[in-house]
C-alpha cells in the first residue's frame, strides 16, 4: 500500500485517492483471468492442451514420415558429400600426405610408405582395403586392383623382421610371452582365470603401465592387434601369435630412442628385450618404398598419391563435381574431357523432355477435362472411370503395351503402312528413343493433368461463357478471354504434378527409352544398384531435387503458387 501512496504527500494512512491509484495500477498491468493468473498465461495453458492433443493425433504419421521418408532422404543426401572411407582406412597415411607437395612430380617420403604399410596391413585384416579401393576407383581406374593386390602382399613385408626376431630368440615366437610383456598384470591374471568355454566375456586387453613410454609403437600396434583379435575375430588372445606388423613396430622401437630407456627397465622379458636391442643393428632392414614398388609399380606414380590426397578429407565436393561433368585436379575443379561428359546433357534432356511431356499433357488433357466438366454428371462419371482406368492397370503392363504398339513391326506402324501413309521400308522409329518416352509418359501421366483441370473447370459456372457471348464475344473470344484465364490454376496444378512426376520418372524411360530416351533417374538407379557409387547417385539426386525446388520457386514468382488449385 505504501508503494502506491504518493510520496510527496507523505501521508502515513491510506486516503480515498489511494484506492483510485491502486485500481489504475492494476488496469495498466496484465489482464487477469477469473482465478487471478494473467489472461495470456491461462489462455496459452488452455490452448496448450488442444495443441498437444492435436499433435498426439498426428504423431503416428509424423513419426512414420520422419523415420521412413525424411531420415532416409537426409541420409542419402548426406552421402553426396560424405567421404570417410579414405581417412578412416588410412588414418596414418592421410595426415602425412597433407604435407606432401602433390605438384612435385615425385612420390612421397619413405615414411609415408611405412605408414601406408601399417594402414593397409590393418585394413587388410579388416577387409577394408577393397572398400577403399572401390571408392578410389570411381576417381581413378585401377585403384581397386592396386589395393586388392597390396592387401594380399603386404603381409609378407613384416615377416622379414618377424623371422629375424624369432631366429634371435624363440621367446619371440610365443604369443603368451608377448601378452606377458605388453599386458598389465591384472589383465594377465584375469586371462588366466578366464574359462574360454564358459559364457563369460574375454577380459579386454589392457596395456601394462609404463610400456607405452618404453615401446610406443609396439604398444600401439599390439593394442590394435589385441583389440582386433578379441572383438572382430573373437578369438582367444592367449592362443594367438602376434602379426608380423608387431615385429616391425618392435624393430622400429628398438632402433629408435627407446633403446636407451631399456637399461632402466626391469619388467617381464627385460633380458630378451635388451638382447634384441643389441642385435637389431645387424638386422636386415625392409625398404618399404621398394617393397610397394615390387607389389605394383603404380605406387611410385605420383598420380595415385594425388588421388589419395585429393580424396582424403572427410567431406568432398568430388561427387557433385562428377555430377556436373567436372573433376578434381591439383589445380582445382576442371571440366572432364568432352567424351566423358554425360550428366549435364542428361539433366538438360530430362528437363526438356519433362517440359515436352507436360505440354503434351496440357494439349491432350484440356479438351477432355472440358468435356468432362460440361457433360451431365452421370455421363461425366462414366467417362471419368475411363480416365481413371489406367490407374488400375499396372504401370509395367501399360508401358509394355506401348512397346507392342510402337515398335517397328507394331500396331501403329502396321496401320500406317496399311493406310499407305508410310512405306514399309522406312517404318517410323517410335520406340527406344525420345519419341517413345514422350508418348508413353504422356499417356501415363495424363490423368494427373486431367483430374485437377476437371475439378477446377467444374467450379467455373457456365454463365460466364453466356455472359461473354451476350456481351458480343465470339465463341473463341469468350473461351480465350473469359474461360481460359479461370482454368489457369488447374493448368498450373496439373503441370506441377505432371512435371515433378516426369522429372523423376524411371521405369517408363528404362523400358521404352532405349539409350537416347533415358532420364537422369535411370543414371541414378544405375549408380545405386550396379556401379554402387552411392555418393555420385546421391549427388545427382541432390541436384535433381534442387532443380525441382528452384523451378517451383520460379513458378511461385512468375505464376504464384496460390494460383494453383486442385479443385473447389
Amino acid at each position: 500500500m505504501t508503494d502506491v501512496t504518493d510520496a510527496t504527500t507523505a501521508k502515513s494512512a491510506p486516503t480515498p485517492d489511494d484506492g483510485i491509484r491502486i485500481a489504475d495500477a492494476e488496469a495498466s498491468g496484465p489482464v487477469l483471468a477469473a482465478d487471478g493468473t494473467p489472461l495470456k498465461r491461462s489462455l496459452s495453458r488452455a490452448l496448450r492442451m488442444q495443441k498437444l492433443r492435436a499433435l498426439a493425433l498426428i504423431a503416428p504419421l509424423l513419426i512414420f514420415v520422419l523415420i521412413t521418408f525424411i531420415a532416409p532422404i537426409a541420409d542419402m543426401l548426406f552421402r553426396s558429400v560424405e567421404n570417410d572411407v579414405v581417412a578412416e582406412t588410412l588414418p596414418r597415411t592421410t595426415p602425412m600426405l597433407a604435407e606432401w607437395d602433390a605438384d612435385s612430380g615425385t612420390p612421397p617420403d619413405p615414411a609415408v610408405f611405412k605408414a601406408l604399410y601399417q594402414d593397409i596391413f590393418f585394413a587388410a585384416e579388416r577387409k577394408q582395403h577393397t572398400v577403399l579401393g572401390g571408392r578410389l576407383n570411381y576417381e581413378m581406374t585401377g585403384m581397386s586392383s592396386l589395393f586388392r593386390k597390396s592387401g594380399r602382399k603386404v603381409e609378407d613385408m613384416g615377416e622379414v623382421y618377424q623371422d629375424q626376431f624369432e631366429d634371435l630368440n624363440e621367446f619371440w615366437e610365443e604369443g603368451e610371452n608377448w601378452n606377458a610383456l605388453m599386458g598389465s598384470d591384472e589383465w594377465n591374471a584375469e586371462m588366466a582365470a578366464w574359462d574360454p568355454k564358459g559364457d563369460a566375456r574375454q577380459p579386454r586387453f589392457e596395456l601394462r603401465d609404463g610400456i607405452e613410454e618404453l615401446l610406443p609403437q609396439t604398444s600401439e600396434t599390439f593394442s590394435a592387434y589385441a583389440k582386433f583379435i578379441q572383438t572382430v575375430d573373437e578369438d582367444n588372445l592367449a592362443k594367438e601369435d602376434p602379426w608380423a606388423i608387431v615385429y616391425s613396430a618392435l624393430y622400429d622401437d628398438l632402433t629408435g630412442p627407446a633403446a636407451a630407456r631399456l637399461n632402466d627397465y626391469s619388467g617381464p622379458a627385460a633380458e630378451e628385450l635388451r638382447a634384441a636391442a643389441a642385435a637389431v643393428d645387424t638386422f636386415e632392414t625392409v625398404d618399404y618404398v621398394a617393397a610397394f614398388q615390387d607389389i605394383d609399380k603404380d605406387w611410385t606414380d605420383p598420380e595415385v598419391w594425388q588421388t589419395i590426397k585429393t580424396y582424403s578429407p572427410r567431406f568432398t565436393n568430388g561427387y557433385f563435381l562428377n555430377a556436373i561433368d567436372m573433376q578434381k585436379s591439383p589445380d582445382g575443379p576442371e571440366m572432364r574431357p568432352e567424351n566423358q561428359q554425360i550428366y549435364i546433357k542428361l539433366f538438360w534432356r530430362t528437363l526438356v523432355m519433362s517440359l515436352t511431356i507436360t505440354a503434351s499433357c496440357i494439349l491432350l488433357g484440356y479438351p477432355v477435362a472440358w468435356i468432362l466438366a460440361n457433360l451431365p454428371a452421370r455421363t461425366a462419371n462414366l467417362l471419368m472411370i475411363l480416365v481413371l482406368l489406367p490407374f488400375w492397370t499396372s504401370l509395367l503392363v501399360r508401358t509394355s503395351a506401348w512397346k507392342v504398339m510402337l515398335q517397328q513391326q507394331g500396331v501403329i506402324n502396321d496401320t500406317l503402312v496399311w493406310l499407305g501413309l508410310v512405306d514399309t521400308m522406312d517404318r517410323l522409329v517410335l520406340i527406344n528413343n525420345q519419341t517413345g518416352t514422350i508418348i508413353a509418359m504422356t499417356h501415363i501421366l495424363l490423368p494427373f493433368m486431367i483430374l485437377p483441370l476437371y475439378s477446377v473447370m467444374q467450379t467455373i459456372p457456365p454463365s460466364y461463357l453466356r455472359a461473354a457471348k451476350s456481351l458480343g464475344a465470339t465463341n473463341w473470344t469468350a473461351f480465350w478471354r473469359v474461360y481460359f484465364p479461370q482454368s489457369v490454376p488447374g493448368i498450373g496444378a496439373g503441370s506441377i504434378l505432371v512435371f515433378i512426376l516426369a522429372i523423376g520418372y524411371y521405369i517408363t524411360p528404362e523400358i521404352v527409352g532405349g539409350t537416347s530416351g533415358i532420364f537422369i533417374s535411370n543414371r541414378i538407379a544405375y549408380h545405386i544398384s550396379q556401379s554402387l557409387n552411392w555418393g555420385l547417385a546421391a549427388a545427382l539426386g541432390t541436384i535433381l531435387l534442387a532443380a525441382v525446388l528452384l523451378l517451383y520457386y520460379a513458378y511461385d514468382k512468375i505464376v504464384g503458387i496460390d494460383n494453383v488449385k486442385l479443385g473447389g
Partner: protein
C-alpha cells in the same frame, strides 16, 4: 414483317414452343409482342418456362418451333453474340479475373471500339450506377449490391436496345432489393431501353413493370399492366399467384347482365362478377381480395352477406389481418387498415361479411 412494323412490335414471340427432351413441352405456344421502350416482366413459379423464354430470346436456347423476331427480323439463327442484347444474370456473372473497368470494357473491346471511346463509355456507365470509385476493384471485393450494379452497367455499356434480366435481385436483401428495383426502372425509362425482366417475386413484378406476363405450365396465363393484373385476374391461377386472395368454390346459378349468382358448396349464395364462366350449372371458384371484404357491411337490400366466425386476429402495424371461418373455409382472410375507429375483432366472435359484386370474381374452377 410489314405487319409487325405497323404494330410497333419490337420483340415478338410467334407460336414459340420449346422442348428439351422431345417428350414434354417446357414452353407451349408462346405468343408475345412488346413495343419499344416497354418494361415487361415475366413472372411465374419456378419451372413455368419463363427463364427458358428469356434464354431463347438471348440465343442460348433454340426454339423447337416458332419464330422469335427482334425489330421485325427473325433471330432464330443468329448466334447470341450477334444479337446485341444486353443481359444481367442471376449470379451477376462478373468475370472474376478482370477488374470492374475491364469487365465493362470487355463488350466494347470485342466490338473493336477505340481505347479513348472505351474509357469514356465505361466511365459514363459507371457513373450511371454511381460506381465510379470502384473501377479498379475486382468483383470479389464488392458487395452483392455493388456487383449487381456493375453487372447492370456492363449490360448497358454497349448501348443495347434490349436488355434481359434474369432474376437479378434474387440474392440481395430486402432493402437493397427495393432500392435497386427503383434504380433499374428509372434507368430503363431514362435510357428508353426495352427490358425483359424475369422474376418469381410478384412485388418486384408489380412495382417495376409496364406489363407483367404471368407464366404457368409453359403458357402466359395473363399479360396485363400490374393494376389490371391485381384487380382483374383472368383466371384462378393469376388470382392466387398475384397478391393475397380468398377463394370459395361453388356452382353458377344465374348469369345476367354482368352479375352472376353463385351457390357455394356450403349452401350459401353470393353475388359475383362472371369472368370466365359462361353458363349456368358450371363449377366456379370465386376470388375476393382480402382488403375488399367488409365486415358488418351496409351494402343495400339485394346484396348477399355471409356469416363468419373470427378465428385469429393478427396485428401487423399498418393493417390488421383477421382470419375467419366462412362457408366452411378456415383460411378466409380480411385485411383492414389500422384506423383510429377500427374495431379489433375478438377470436370466437361472429360477424357478417360482404362485398361489392364487382370485387368478387367468378373464375374457372
Amino acid at each position: 414483317m410489314a405487319d409487325t412494323q405497323k404494330n410497333g412490335a419490337f420483340v415478338e414471340f410467334d407460336r414459340v414452343q420449346k422442348s428439351y427432351d422431345g417428350e414434354t413441352l417446357v414452353v407451349k405456344d408462346l405468343n408475345l409482342s412488346m413495343p419499344k421502350g416497354e418494361f415487361l416482366t415475366m413472372l411465374g413459379p419456378s419451372g413455368s418456362g419463363k427463364t427458358t423464354c428469356l434464354m431463347m430470346l438471348a440465343g442460348f436456347e433454340t426454339a423447337t418451333h416458332g419464330d422469335i423476331r427482334l425489330d421485325g427480323v427473325s433471330i432464330n439463327n443468329i448466334p447470341p453474340h450477334k444479337r446485341g442484347i444486353g443481359m444481367v444474370f442471376q449470379n451477376y456473372a462478373l468475370f472474376p479475373h478482370m477488374t470492374v473497368a475491364e469487365n465493362l470494357s470487355f463488350p466494347l473491346e470485342v466490338r473493336r471500339i477505340s481505347k479513348s471511346e472505351r474509357k469514356e463509355k465505361v466511365n459514363r456507365a459507371l457513373s450511371m450506377v454511381q460506381m465510379q470509385d470502384f473501377a479498379g476493384r475486382r468483383p470479389t471485393q464488392l458487395s452483392g449490391g455493388q456487383q449487381q450494379r456493375i453487372a447492370l452497367a456492363r449490360a448497358l455499356v454497349f448501348e443495347p436496345e434490349l436488355v434481359l434480366m434474369d432474376e437479378p435481385l434474387g440474392a440481395l436483401d430486402k432493402q437493397l432489393r427495393e432500392t435497386l428495383q427503383f434504380e433499374i426502372t428509372n434507368l430503363a425509362h431514362e435510357l428508353g431501353i426495352t427490358v425483359v425482366y424475369v422474376t418469381h417475386d410478384q412485388t418486384e413484378a408489380l412495382t417495376m413493370s409496364d406489363r407483367v406476363a404471368v407464366f404457368d405450365d409453359g403458357r402466359i396465363q395473363q399479360l396485363a399492366p400490374p393494376d389490371k393484373l391485381y384487380e382483374e385476374p383472368e383466371n384462378s391461377f393469376v388470382a392466387q399467384f398475384i397478391g393475397e386472395n380468398n377463394t370459395l368454390d361453388g356452382v353458377v346459378q344465374e348469369i345476367s347482365d354482368g352479375i352472376c349468382v353463385v351457390k357455394l358448396d356450403s349452401g350459401e349464395v353470393i353475388d359475383a362478377k362472371p369472368v370466365n364462366v359462361s353458363k349456368v350449372g358450371e363449377r366456379t371458384r370465386v376470388s375476393i381480395r382480402p382488403e375488399r371484404v367488409e365486415i358488418n357491411p351496409q351494402l343495400g337490400e339485394n346484396a348477399h352477406t355471409l356469416k363468419a366466425e373470427v378465428l385469429e386476429f393478427i396485428y401487423m402495424g399498418d393493417v390488421f389481418r383477421t382470419r375467419l371461418r366462412v362457408a366452411g373455409v378456415d383460411d378466409f382472410v380480411v385485411k383492414t387498415r389500422n384506423r383510429a375507429d377500427q374495431v379489433r375483432l375478438e377470436p370466437g366472435s361472429h360477424v357478417q361479411i360482404g362485398w361489392l359484386p364487382e370485387d368478387c370474381r367468378a373464375l374457372d374452377a
